[in-house]
Symmetry: C2
Subunit: 194 residues, 2 copies
């Protein structure tokens, strides 16, 4: 089964409360463009991520607003910032890392910093149709620095736009680009595929 | 077959001529510590890598001097610098990327910038002993962001210190650390392993 890749650069999701602390009372996100996942969009707003060790500027705020604030970074970012965030499914932010987010108006110190797990957005119908009777799959990657990535989470939602999301570390390690078409191998328990 | 990992951060190898342009006539590298590979050492000298787009400071010069200058960076570094270096075996620098190296005394604009291929240093005797009758192997990686890396070059030299070298992109994508023990799966043509 083929799947198209979308590469996730570092970004943040904000609650309404945190958005207003960072950008001012009554501030609303401006859409730059829709993302493939329903209701999600790239906003024009950017923040700085700050820790005692370092900082990273120009980190995009992704809309729509959520009921939790979440900061998704790569392991490379984590080393730069001196953090050790867990690898997590989006929204699973208990005991995640703490970080400071700096906006033009104010700043917040918050938990919610994670490394997003490798995942494929898929509807329950597609999952059944494609015969993916499992929660995790492996994906084959070709090319000079090819290989197989394991523990790719089949993240079911209805609606969903069917695509694979990898972070920039995975993308750069395997020399991948947005829109690359990759092959799902099957379940992690399938020894023929591992 | 197990192999211990050594992670290669960005670094440069220099010719005597280039060393003297960067650091001054008669300059000699000072050893900070021996590296595992025979005759190779971490020197106390650092340079800046510069391109029209950006720069990276504090890049280590690795000794001993060579008869070619080579700059090894990751794909993440390459994006920052606006370069597109080829994935190459060390020393194979024909048609590699051009970059400026800045030292305390002078600077050079030189070819020789590559992304080092994934490789395992091994002696001809070890290669035979371990039954690795091939030029490329795959390596199994466990953990939350595990998988398999392919096209790992068995780089034979006598002497050699047996170890796997990966760049920081591979290490960070797979959450690996120096000294991790990984499993060589076999040849890339062995379908049971892929």
């Amino acid at each position: 089964m083929k799947v198209v890749l979308g590469i996730s650069n570092r970004h943040v999701h904000l609650t309404k409360e945190h958005l207003e602390i960072l950008f001012g009372k009554g501030f609303e996100l401006t859409k730059v463009k829709d993302l493939n996942q329903p209701t999600q969009f790239m906003s024009s707003s950017k923040v700085t991520l700050k820790t005692p060790k370092s900082f990273i500027e120009n980190v995009r705020v992704i809309g729509e607003l959520r009921d939790y604030t979440q900061i998704e970074i790569s392991k490379t970012d984590a080393y730069k910032l001196g953090l050790n965030p867990p690898v997590r499914d989006s929204g699973d932010i208990d005991n995640s890392e703490t970080i400071t987010i700096v906006g033009p108006i104010g700043e917040i110190n918050t938990t919610g910093c994670i490394i997003a797990d490798r995942h494929i957005h898929i509807t329950s119908k597609q999952k059944e149709l494609y015969g993916l009777n499992t929660e995790y799959v492996s994906v084959l990657i070709g090319g000079e620095k090819g290989g197989i990535i394991s523990n790719v989470h089949l993240k079911v939602s209805d609606p969903a736009y069917y695509e694979l999301h990898l972070d920039t570390d995975d993308a750069n390690a395997f020399l991948l680009h947005n829109g690359d078409v990759l092959e799902i191998l099957g379940t992690n328990n399938d020894s023929q595929n591992m």
